[in-house]
């Protein structure tokens, strides 16, 4: 059974001449159209995720992986033209075409997103607990005691000190803020969580603990995840299967250990070999 099924994901920035997708990509060695200058952030990206599975997406900056993450997370496109097909088990139709209310409801329910930048994901003036509660309240929870209990459980689960839950989020350390984001993403028991660069801005030792925490919860809750990172180590630790992206295209896909130890594509080989 497929939980999340995406096909032909495409996002183009700028006025496209119509041939941009043919003129860009891995073979062309660029994601910018030589004819019209439009940037093909991603194109021809298809992927699927099964329940409980973790899919990794690796690539350097500009490879298009964050565009894919945004489309999968049903985020509103702020600019650029997006197309493609995203389907989620139990929900009708192409969710990229769904109206705002439907996508909003899904983002507060079946799909969780951990933003790359804390400010996009959290309201720093709210308390840490308030940030997690927002997800529950937006999903229609109306019993204060239930909300409180759930927030407390999530803090324990994500290893944020419970005694800090009523402090403003801006007083939290970077690692704690990331944990609160993960707690928030998991609050409504989503079917799938999208993590965009989950370790950005964290100290190495903190990175390891956050990833380990997520790995533990992911397995315990059996929640599916898509992990987007430029860091091979992150993907190696979390992902069952991995997509490698370059110039807005998927150049290689396979079991994570296979991609890491037996990379086929020239770019993947370079990527693996350049790890310190």
């Amino acid at each position: 059974m497929t939980l999340l099924d995406a096909s032909d994901l495409r996002r183009v920035y700028g006025d496209s001449c119509g041939d941009c997708v043919e003129l860009t990509g891995d073979a062309a060695g660029t994601n910018q159209c030589p004819e019209c200058g439009a940037v093909v952030a991603c194109a021809d990206v298809s992927l699927d995720v099964e329940p409980g599975e973790v899919l990794g997406i690796v690539g350097e900056s500009g490879s298009g992986k964050s565009s894919v993450a945004e489309l999968l997370a049903l985020e509103r496109a702020t600019d650029g033209q997006a197309s493609g097909d995203v389907r989620l088990d139990g929900h009708d139709g192409n969710l990229l075409d769904a109206d705002y209310e439907t996508r909003h409801r899904l983002r507060n329910g079946a799909v969780g997103l951990v933003h790359q930048h804390v400010r996009d994901g959290l309201n720093l003036e709210f308390t840490g607990g308030g940030n997690v509660a927002e997800k529950l309240l937006a999903a229609g929870w109306r019993n204060f005691g239930d909300v409180r209990d759930r927030v407390r459980d999530l803090f324990e689960e994500t290893e944020v000190p419970v005694e800090r839950m009523d402090d403003p989020t801006e007083t939290y350390s970077g690692g704690m803020q990331r944990r609160v984001q993960i707690a928030r993403a998991l609050a409504t028991d989503p079917d799938v969580v999208i993590l965009d660069e989950p370790t950005t801005g964290l100290d190495v030792s903190v990175q390891a603990r956050v990833l380990d925490m997520f790995r533990r919860i992911q397995r315990e809750e059996d929640v599916a995840a898509v992990v987007v990172s430029h860091d091979l180590g992150v993907v190696r630790l979390l992902a069952d299967r991995t997509l490698v992206m370059r110039h807005g295209r998927v150049v290689e896909t396979g079991l994570t250990d296979r991609v890491m130890e037996d990379p086929h594509h020239e770019y993947t080989q370079t990527l693996i070999n350049s790890v310190i």
Binding site: A138, R142, F144
Partner: protein, 362 residues
């Protein structure tokens, strides 16, 4: 009410005078003032505002009625009173009033405040309306911060002066972002505000401007009325018009519209409590009370607080007739009109209210 206004629009009222204008040929300011003296208000259109403005305000009100709780922009005009002193309310009132109407103005429950008196006088002189302090006599009531204790009926309009139109501004200063939230009925942030309020105080502690959902769709700032008055908005017989001059927004709660204060299942909305207190003047225990300073209050009984009814006109009636019900003027009994009336908000305060419920005696 609007009939007279419509007549005016047809040009049968002093509107014609306004169009001709007043020629001033004086050579000095003193001469100009002399020239004007005697003209009085005849230089102005009926009800002060020109007909286009009134029509626009009425259109905004109609749109507000059509979309209960939604903030409708309108071209707020400069008025002969400072913004923040009820310029929105007076524009709405003057657009609604006709010469056969009786107009009442209350400011924080009192008909006698300077501002209320001035607004009343402006309507009296420009719209030629009767004015009254009796809630039950009025066709249009303009109010600041209160809804009267006496039940309003289907022939009445309550115009509320609004300083801040958007309940969401409390949680986000960006009006653009808040408009998107209203469009999508996305009120998660306000709920977090409530959640954090309970975390901090153990219960919801919002004194006034308590946010309420209108017809299950739009979150509304009910203007700075006390929580006591909020239940009166729910399923009322009368029309409520909210007008903000400074922010140039009008919104409305039409008759028989659901208005539900935001609250948790286990942390309910509660009106103000006045345990063991009664009005010092009329003895009421079922009205919204205001604490006052006593004249000889610094003596031995200095610890005692004195309370009086905030709604002065109803208090005067109760002084004559202590058992007067809030729906005394209606041909039915037991009308739900907030705290102290049948069907008023239940909760922790219900028992306290029931103890001396004067309304039930009548």
């Amino acid at each position: 009410m609007t009939d007279a206004g419509a007549d005016a629009a047809d040009g049968t009222e002093p509107a014609a005078a306004a169009e001709s204008g007043t020629q001033i040929s004086a050579t000095s300011v003193a001469d100009a003032v002399d020239d004007l003296s005697g003209e009085g208000l005849s230089g102005y259109n009926y009800a002060y505002l020109d007909e286009h403005t009134k029509r626009e305000v009425r259109r905004a009100i109609l749109k507000g009625i059509a979309i209960p709780g939604h903030q409708v922009p309108f071209a707020s005009r400069p008025m002969p009173l400072a913004r923040g002193w009820g310029t929105g309310g007076i524009q709405a009132s003057l657009s609604l009033l006709g010469p056969d109407d009786a107009f009442k103005v209350i400011d924080q429950g009192s008909d006698e405040s300077v501002n209320a008196a001035n607004v009343r006088r402006l309507a009296e002189t420009t719209a030629e309306v009767e004015t009254t302090t009796d809630t039950t006599e009025a066709d249009v009531i303009q109010t600041r911060h209160r809804i009267p204790e006496e039940v309003l009926d289907e022939d009445q309009i309550l115009v509320l002066q609004v300083p801040i139109t958007d309940a969401l501004r409390k949680v986000d200063s960006s009006d653009a972002a808040n408009r998107r939230r209203h469009a999508h009925a996305n009120y998660g942030k306000m709920w977090v505000h409530l959640y954090e309020n309970v975390v901090e105080w153990g219960e919801i502690q919002i004194a006034a401007r308590y946010p309420a959902m209108v017809a299950g769709r739009y979150l509304m700032d009910p203007s700075p009325i006390p929580r006591w008055d909020l239940p009166k908005l729910d399923d009322a017989d009368n029309l409520f018009v909210f007008a903000a001059g400074r922010e140039a927004r009008i919104y409305a709660v039409p008759p028989h519209t659901d208005v539900e204060p935001l609250a948790f299942e286990d942390k309910s909305f509660q009106v103000e409590r006045f345990p063991d207190q009664s009005c010092h003047s009329c003895g009421s225990t079922d009205t919204y009370l205001t604490e006052i300073e006593t004249e000889e209050g610094t003596e031995s009984d200095g610890g005692d607080r004195l309370y009086v009814c905030n709604d002065t006109s109803f208090c005067l009636k109760r002084q004559d007739d202590p058992g007067l019900a809030k729906d005394h003027h209606l041909d039915r009994e037991g009308v739900d009109w907030g705290p102290g009336t049948p069907g008023g908000p239940a909760g922790a305060d219900r028992d306290e209210l029931a103890e001396g419920d004067g309304g039930d005696d009548a």
